[in-house]
């Protein structure tokens, strides 16, 4: 698709990316719902072990973009490369197996089992006949993951007993348990206190130290400044800025996008 000649109408669009430009690459990603263009030929590349902030005002198309990337629904057009392979439109569960997992903004924990068992499900192999889970082996791993994300004290409670921050940690724990190479974190800091933001920041930083690539989606950069290496700002489904957090906050177009709304 990148071989397509540049036409006048598309002259101002971003340069195309190839499969080897990063661990996760979106090239001319487009999603239309009926006549509504939610993602407008968006291209970006995420480098290995990077923490990328994916920023945009509410309704900018962030969630739609990542629903297309993670296979929740197929994009209308464009290509997604993951680890150099074309993974456009493969089902969500296969995408997780490829090594890309995500947390969800609207939590959907399994209410019938304690926190640790929620994490344990993510460790289950996608196989019908398995010895996994019978010897208490995966439960130990699940407990270890719970401790790592700061759920050590509460892992035997049911999810409904968790505070908001605990739910975020559970989402994180479940995503980690799938052993991702790239993890997409959706609005991790919404409704958290400064201390809790600090704690989660440290967890994510340590994940990166262990080799993980993280994409943090949020509608503003509050709380992200200490965490992310690079920010990518979109509005109306198109990119408006890209750069270090400092460059972004000074960018006039970004400030324009947030005028009358929240601060960046």
């Amino acid at each position: 698709m990148s071989a397509e000649p540049e036409t006048g109408a598309r002259a101002d669009r971003e340069r195309s990316y190839g499969p080897d430009d990063g661990i996760l690459v979106a090239d001319d990603l487009r999603k239309e719902f009926g006549g509504l263009v939610a993602v407008d030929d968006l291209s970006f590349a995420v480098q290995e072990q990077e923490i990328l902030g994916f920023i945009g005002p509410n309704g900018a198309g962030k969630s739609t973009t990542f629903n297309c990337v993670t296979g929740t629904y197929p994009p209308t057009d464009g290509t997604v490369y993951f680890k150099g392979e074309d993974v456009t439109g493969i089902p969500a569960h296969d995408m997780v197996k490829e090594g890309m997992s995500r947390t969800f903004q609207e939590f959907a924990p399994l209410e019938d089992r304690p926190v640790v068992k929620n994490v344990e499900l993510a460790l289950a192999p996608d196989e019908l006949f398995t010895l996994s889970g019978m010897g208490g082996e995966t439960e130990q791993l699940a407990r270890e993951i719970c401790r790592r994300v700061g759920l050590g004290e509460v892992m035997d409670q049911t999810p409904s007993e968790l505070p908001h921050a605990g739910m975020l940690k559970l989402e994180l724990g479940r995503a980690i348990a799938t052993q991702p190479d790239v993890m997409l974190v959706d609005e991790p800091f919404a409704g958290l206190s400064a201390d809790e933001v600090q704690e989660l920041t440290e967890v994510m930083e340590s994940l990166r130290q262990h080799g993980m690539t993280l994409i943090v989606v949020d509608h503003n950069m509050r709380g992200l400044l200490n965490l992310i290496d690079r920010a990518f700002v979109i509005q109306f489904g198109s990119k408006i800025a890209e750069g270090t957090p400092e460059e972004i906050t000074d960018d006039p177009e970004v400030q324009e996008a947030y005028l009358g709304g929240e601060e960046i």
Binding site: H93, L110, E111, A124, L131, H210
Partner: protein, 416 residues
């Protein structure tokens, strides 16, 4: 990729080691000891019972297997099936037709005379055939289950055995290629399949005493039960079992951690169907009253057996497998003891028992007993009661809640 996780190292080897250690049965929880004791008592039952009573009890073993079959798919994944007899009929007719209309004529045509070993092999082949036919039926129901929400799927499962019943009548004389001599209509297949052990000539091993016949039939059925228990217990206690229950809770959550819900759903149906079909197939060769007819395999009113297995599994505890064993005992008790006094009320006592269980023991007997036992042990150790057992909602309640939500969505109730 360089991502480090706690799963590193030789996980497969460690898992096998852990499972082996469990199989040594050293540190068993009290409830597991009681379970093994219970199965041991079942094995010793023929020492106590008269042949006629024993035959009645042998049927209970099949009821246990049928209920386990239902529990695998409905108790675990929450896909309520109201017509599990579909699978039982496929298994029972499957083996009878395989043996009597295919294998025996074929071997006769070749001029082979079957000895005890030969007959046994033919019977085993028939059981495999019946199990496969039922498993195929599992695919047939499992595939629509991917697209249909709870109540709609239940309708399909309700209609499937009725259609099958009807097709037994339509193809009563002949079903081309598959059943050259037909499926016998409402009266069933009059040509009984050979037994493993029996009085008379139509058996692999011929015995001449009634009690030997009864005991042999009991133990063959008991062996089948052990096989069913081992397979279903193994699957539901492995990670696959927790995927099943997660499907009952939220399919999106399953998908989001890299598991394919469609695959596990179809597997649950196929496993359930195969277990039910296997049990019915063994019944035709080893059970009491082993006639391949519609009254046996669907129940007297076409749906009675389908409903009975639900009652059994609910009494014992949905989503437990072992609950089906306990439930079948209660069911048989109600059926034979209460039914003996007022036989005219026959299905009533058992259905009443199901109602009572749902109202007062909604979790089922086994989970309630486990909970009570844990509390008792904790009380003896002097622990504070509430710390021991968090009230986790039962499989039955979760399933019914989901169901209610889905029905409210369909009819546009307050749930929206």
């Amino acid at each position: 990729m360089a991502t480090e996780t706690p799963l590193e190292g030789d996980v497969g080897r460690r898992r096998k080691q852990a499972v082996k250690e469990k199989l040594l049965l050293r540190d068993l929880a009290l409830r597991h000891r009681l379970g093994i004791l219970g199965v041991g008592l079942l094995a010793l039952l023929p020492l106590l019972a008269q042949p006629r009573e024993l035959n009645q009890f042998t049927y209970v073993l099949y009821l246990m297997m049928f209920a386990i079959s239902w529990d695998v798919v409905s108790g675990y994944t929450g896909q309520l099936s109201f017509g599990h007899a579909f699978f039982f009929a496929l298994g029972g007719y499957g083996t009878s037709v395989t043996v009597n209309q295919h294998l025996v004529p074929l071997l006769d045509g070749l001029g082979v005379t079957l000895g005890p070993v030969g007959t046994t092999v033919v019977i085993l082949a028939g059981i495999v055939g019946g199990t496969l036919v039922a498993a195929l039926g599992g695919v047939l129901i499992g595939v629509p289950a991917l697209r249909l929400e709870g109540p709609y799927l239940s309708l399909v499962t309700l209609i499937a055995p009725l259609l099958l019943y009807q097709s037994f009548i339509i193809f009563g004389e002949e079903l081309p290629v598959l059943a050259p001599n037909g499926l016998g209509g409402t009266s069933g297949l009059l040509n009984e399949p050979p037994s493993f052990v029996g009085i008379g000539t139509n058996a692999a091993v011929t015995v001449d005493q009634l009690w030997v016949d009864a005991v042999a039939r009991y133990y063959i059925s008991f062996l089948a039960l052990l096989i069913v228990l081992a397979v279903t217990y193994g699957v539901t206690r492995s990670a696959a079992g927790s995927v099943f229950t997660a499907i009952r809770e939220d399919e999106d959550a399953v998908q989001s951690v890299g598991l394919n819900p469609a695959k596990f759903k179809i597997f649950a149906f196929v496993l359930s169907a195969a277990v039910g079909g296997f049990a019915a197939a063994v019944w035709m060769h080893a059970g009491p009253n082993a006639y391949p007819n519609t009254e046996n395999l669907f129940g007297p009113g076409r749906i009675d057996l389908s409903i009975n297995v639900i009652v059994v599994a609910v009494i014992g505890g949905m989503g437990t497998i072992v609950g089906s064993l306990v439930g079948a005992l209660f069911f048989a008790f109600a059926d034979s003891v209460i039914g003996a006094f007022v036989p005219e009320l026959k299905p009533l006592p058992t259905f009443l028992l199901g109602m009572v269980a749902l109202t007062f023991l909604p979790r089922g007997v086994v989970p309630e007993a486990t909970r009570f036992g844990r509390r008792l042990l904790a009380w003896r150790r002097g622990e504070v009661d509430s710390l021991v057992e968090r009230d986790r909602t039962s499989a039955a309640k979760r399933t019914v809640d989901r169901y209610r939500e889905e029905i409210e969505e369909i009819i546009g109730g307050e749930g929206r």
